[in-house]
Symmetry: C2
Subunit: 417 residues, 2 copies
């Protein structure tokens, strides 16, 4: 029986097959994400992997429709596996924001789902580090969040040589769009969003196609390209650059108006992190969505907000390519040898005591030849072996230094450093 | 917009509403599960939350049918959110077992889903600590796994006064069932499973009902009750009791033939952990399923196996009831005060350096009155405040001892203990 296409099995390393994923690397990545978020004072939250379909279709933009893993449940509710975390966050914040001091700084590590029928072989789920800052409209909040994004990548050993955060602004594009226009009708808002979509795809699309689409909206590709090439930071973006520079993080950001983000709900600053060599898709992306909480809460709660998401797949590829992913093993501290079966009960007590002291301990479950036991200890890369001489004394061997000590059984844990 | 019935939102503490769950308590529980599993040499794995429906319906027994969160995906595949982890594990092991030395010791912390239409108000998802030991038929494996179950509960501060593992055996019931019978037809296997179902519900059902159902299968309730009351351990169970006693864990187990487990695939030893006061549903349950890997792999791989699952919901209730759940807060180490806005850039650098040293650091994102800043530091239960006197010196105050030191900015991290 096979797993579903687009889903992943996570195995302990060493991996048995190129088609499966490392559970150890996954835990390593999650742990770094969590630890970095905590240094920034972000608190963890989570919501349901399954939500009412409506939560995601409410003004989420053309991009998301048709890509959802949605279905009708047995109670005939229209539901969807979550394709992103932000609508759930907005729902949760809107429900209970009064109980939390602003700004709210929260993070999550959800598994997200997309069903794209066409692209076979592409993943239909991934994990994403989501960090959001809610209730602060000052660009200092944007700087704080982008600093967290940068340090979340540095936590893996990535440097300013490896990645850069491309900083942009929907506001700047909004001004560009309206320069010389008086139209602020709803029809024009649709046109503006279409314009944003062309900008979003500019780097990947053929110039002729972009030019054609822009012309239909009343713009020249040359003007758009000149605006991007100019790359003049808005006052807000300059504030963010200065704030990051004060933290010593100036080398990790640059203005790049190519970035505009696909989702409809972004309102202000937007950004994406890329590897410097341009080998991979975006490592992370985010921005301001000052209207989303209001939208999701049906107008009841109005809070400015911004956030980013960082997926596990591109990050993993990048870490592998840069040689920054450690090798993982069972991390066994002690292998307890049993050469005399009469000493098994006493060895079981030793195993128990060492485990209670926090050590990872292995031992032969059933009678096993001494050489096979020792071989197993080596395969497991155990740091120590421990073998009872009798009920009272244990022989502890450091498998790296090959030093051996004999200690009292109760004192064994103190000889394992 | 509301979340779906039966699903949970997890918020940072203090909780804003009795209807939501603690993300902090969840992480606390997951961390203890993972740490204990690692001391036993168990490795983490995970599979897809969504699997082909067939994986779960293949001989999973009457109990599971109709309780699945199943649907047809856009590719018209019959799929289901996983109701349990064991079939996924069996699939994964069967696919790549040759690459792993036996016994395989793996654990996972999956979110599991059930759709029970009738019981409104009941949860439709929960998290479960799953630990399995595969490739060892000796009861020493059963003892090792049960020891892990016991220590996973002790990790939270629970003692032998709080819980007990009730140990039983499908083999013992199999023998009981066949005593005096010669029939080993398929029809009789169905009857035997029906018999197991009656035993499984014996403690909850009315005696008259159980007696009636047993009579229909050719048994007397009195005989069944006498067998349970006798409570004589089989040779296998005695071996397990002795093994656990050698580890000093004898006080955590007792023979109790009431336990038989509902799922069809169990084959030998079965067990459930209960609180001693009998206030809650089972905390954990598991047993041997020696035929499942063969079944799932279509006969290709034949490995004995056993495992247990421990849910987060009952455990959380128990820990709360016993006062063993710590209070959680933001765990802020340092709150950096900014009383002079001219010192903001230098403070940003200090914040950055302290975070890189692993400290959780908060500071006012925007200009804020000094007394409000200090109040915020106290609300966050920060251990220290740090305030720059100028670009070079920082005043560090321990908020518990109220001791204050002035240190060089670069030396600040050394004064935070």
């Amino acid at each position: 029986m096979e797993r579903l296409p687009g889903f992943r099995d996570f195995y302990p390393e060493p991996l048995p097959h190129p088609d499966v994923w490392s559970a150890d690397a996954r835990q390593y990545i999650f742990a770094k994400w969590r630890a970095t978020a905590r240094t920034y004072g972000f608190r963890e939250y989570d919501g349901p992997p399954l939500e009412p379909l409506e939560l995601f279709t409410t003004k989420s933009g053309e991009e998301i429709v048709g890509q959802l893993y949605n279905f009708a449940d047995k109670g005939e509710r229209s539901v969807s596996l979550r394709p992103e975390m932000t609508p759930t966050l907005a729902r949760m914040v809107a429900a209970h924001e009064r109980n939390y001091k602003k700004p709210i700084k929260w993070f999550a590590v959800p598994q997200l789902y997309r069903y794209e029928r066409q692209q076979k072989g592409r993943l239909r789920e991934h994990f994403q580090f989501n960090a959001d800052l809610i209730g602060e409209s000052d660009p200092a909040a944007d700087a704080e969040l982008i600093a967290l994004l940068i340090d979340s990548l540095r936590a893996f050993g990535l440097t300013a040589e490896d990645f850069v955060v491309r900083l942009s602004s929907r506001n700047a594009w909004h001004e560009f769009y309206h320069r010389g226009r008086q139209d602020s009708s709803e029809a024009d808002a649709v046109h503006e969003y279409q314009f944003f979509q062309v900008i979003d795809k500019l780097e990947r699309a053929l110039p002729e196609e972009s030019a054609k689409k822009l012309a239909a909206l009343g713009f020249k590709l040359d003007d758009v390209n000149a605006f991007i090439a100019g790359g003049k930071p808005t006052a807000q973006l300059q504030f963010i650059l200065d704030n990051l520079a004060a933290r010593g993080l100036g080398g990790f950001v640059k203005i790049d108006y190519h970035v505009i983000r696909g989702l409809a709900y972004y309102t202000g600053v937007v950004f994406e992190a890329f590897d410097r060599k341009g080998e991979f898709r975006a490592i992370a992306g985010g921005g301001r969505y000052d209207n989303l909480v209001k939208l999701i809460s049906g107008g009841k709660v109005n809070l400015p907000a911004l956030g980013f998401g960082m997926g596990d797949v591109v990050l993993l590829e990048l870490l592998k390519a840069r040689g920054l992913l450690p090798a993982f093993d069972a991390n066994v501290d002690v292998f307890c040898l049993i050469e005399e079966e009469s000493l098994r009960p006493a060895t079981l007590q030793l195993v128990q005591n060492l485990r209670l002291s926090g050590r990872a301990v292995e031992f032969p479950l059933t009678p096993t030849k001494p050489d096979k036991q020792f071989k197993r200890a080596q395969e497991l890369k155990a740091s120590f072996t421990a073998k009872l001489d009798n009920d009272s004394y244990v022989r502890i061997r450091n498998l790296k230094t090959r030093q051996e000590v004999v200690a009292g059984v109760r004192d064994a844990a103190n000889h394992l450093t």
